[in-house]
Each structure stands twice: as C-alpha cells, then as structure tokens.
Subunit: 154 residues, 2 copies
C-alpha cells in the first residue's frame, strides 16, 4: 500500500513499496534515535510501536535507565497524546522491573524538557534506584544489562 493506503499496481510502484518496507525493517532492526545519538539494539530492552527503553552508558545510579519515544522530537509538547500515553505506560512497566531487578524500594522519574532544565539530549526519562555511580561502561557491559532486563518482559 502507498501513503494513501492503496496497493501499488505497477511494477515500479511495487518495487518502491518493497524498498519502503526494507527501509522500515532495517530502521527497526538496526538503530534507534535518542536525541542526536544513534542507539544500538543491543542496549534496548523493551520496545512498543511508539516507545523504547534502553540502559545507560553512564548511569547516575545503578538502575538508571532511559525511556524514549521512537519518533524524535525536540520538546515534550511535540509528542502526540498517544505517544505520551505509551511513553509513560512503558515508564511504569520499566520502573516496576528496575525496582525489582536492582532490589530498590523507590523510584525517581525525571524529564528535563528544554535547554534551561539541564537537558543534554532532546528527550529522556529516568528511573533511579540505589547508590551513585559515575563510570563509563563498555558496550558489552551495557548489552549484558539490557539482556537481563529484557528477560523480565518475555
């Protein structure tokens, strides 16, 4: 189907449709966008049609993870109502798992929205449990944590 929902009839139309599908599939498999960063699927542990959750390269505390909309936006106000709903319903699920996995008893959810709020990437959502930590982590370490968290949602 093309943008107007019609199935292509010509050979050229069919080829274009096939290319569109390939691009979408590749995009879905190969990368996620978080602000100006391209995210590897290995660090993503949950995904819906509108949102995804990933582990952090430099967690402020153990269990500091990010929940993001799939569609890149500059400000929170740019998200559509269904994207807002999906993002925070995912944040709720992720919070439960993070609290359990890191044996926490509380969570902090924070969203810095705009340049004066300390925002360094364009949209983020945190869940924090535990003690402070400031080290940069390797890709393997991040992939291992993502794999552990992913298991809770399967």
């Amino acid at each position: 189907m093309d943008r107007r929902g019609k199935r292509p009839r010509t050979r050229r139309g069919k080829m274009r449709r096939l290319l569109q599908l390939c691009r979408l599939e590749l995009h879905g498999r190969m990368s996620f966008i978080f602000g100006q960063h391209l995210i590897k699927p290995s660090v993503v542990f949950l995904r819906t049609e509108l949102s995804f959750a990933l582990v952090n390269r430099k967690p402020v505390v153990p269990g500091h993870v990010l929940v993001c909309p799939l569609r890149p936006v500059e400000r929170f106000r740019d998200l559509h109502p269904n994207e807002v709903a999906d993002l925070f319903q995912m944040a709720q699920k992720v919070g439960n798992v993070v609290e359990k996995h890191f044996k926490g008893t509380s969570l902090t959810f924070a969203m810095q929205d705009g340049p004066e709020s300390g925002q360094t990437v364009w949209l983020q959502k945190h869940d924090k449990v535990g003690d402070p930590s400031t080290k940069w982590r390797s890709e393997d370490e991040m992939a291992a944590e993502a794999s552990e968290l992913r298991a809770y949602f399967q």
Copy 2:
C-alpha cells in the same frame, strides 16, 4: 444507570441513583485528595475524569505546580494504564501553560515514587520554571494564581 449500566426502574432504584450522582457531584465540587491532604477546589485549575492540577502552597520556583490522579494511590505502579495516560497528557498541557504564563523556556517534570526518593506526599508531578522561592503562600494568593491558570483552559 446502575453499576451494570442499566437504568433503574423502581422508585428505590431511582432514589439510589440520585444519591450516587449527588455524592459524586459533591465530591467533585468540595474536595480533592492529594496524598494525606484534602485540597480546596479554589487551588485546582484543571480537572479531567481521572486527574487534576493544582497550584503549590510552597513552590520551589515560580510555576511549580502539581498534577495528580483523582484516585489516591500509594505508588505510581498502582495507577491503571488509562490513569497513567490521562495524568501525563494533563502534565503536557499544564507544562505548556505554565511555561507560557511564567515566561519560561524549559520545564522539569519530576515524580518521586516511594519513601527513599524523598516523597513526602504519596504521588506528585512537578513542572518548574524560573528562580528559587521558599515562602509559604496564603490561600488567597494560591486561589488567585489558580484562577489565572484556569483561564488558559477555558
């Protein structure tokens, strides 16, 4: 209609339905619950079927307001998906108005969820814009601010 969605046929059923409506209406008009506190309608500036927004007695910064679910819960995990959606869709709307009204350029949304996160009331949601302030405000001052904010949604 009773709990099963049927319209009452007997006189007793009709009276019971009328009483239910009165109670709901009274609850809607007379009080909101925020954690262990009873909130006066004069400080509430937005309400949906599931959430409400109010001004703060002791704002950390000008434009520090609260967005709460109407159903009192102990933790974020206790909210149903539609309550989560409504709460954050309201937070988005309120954030837009607060940023405009207080002439801000950024917002911080924070939810302290559980005793170890610094939570003093059971569920809250903040939008902050501007400079620090720590004074306690009078009910009149709060009602005046709520009235100004309410006007944006009318």
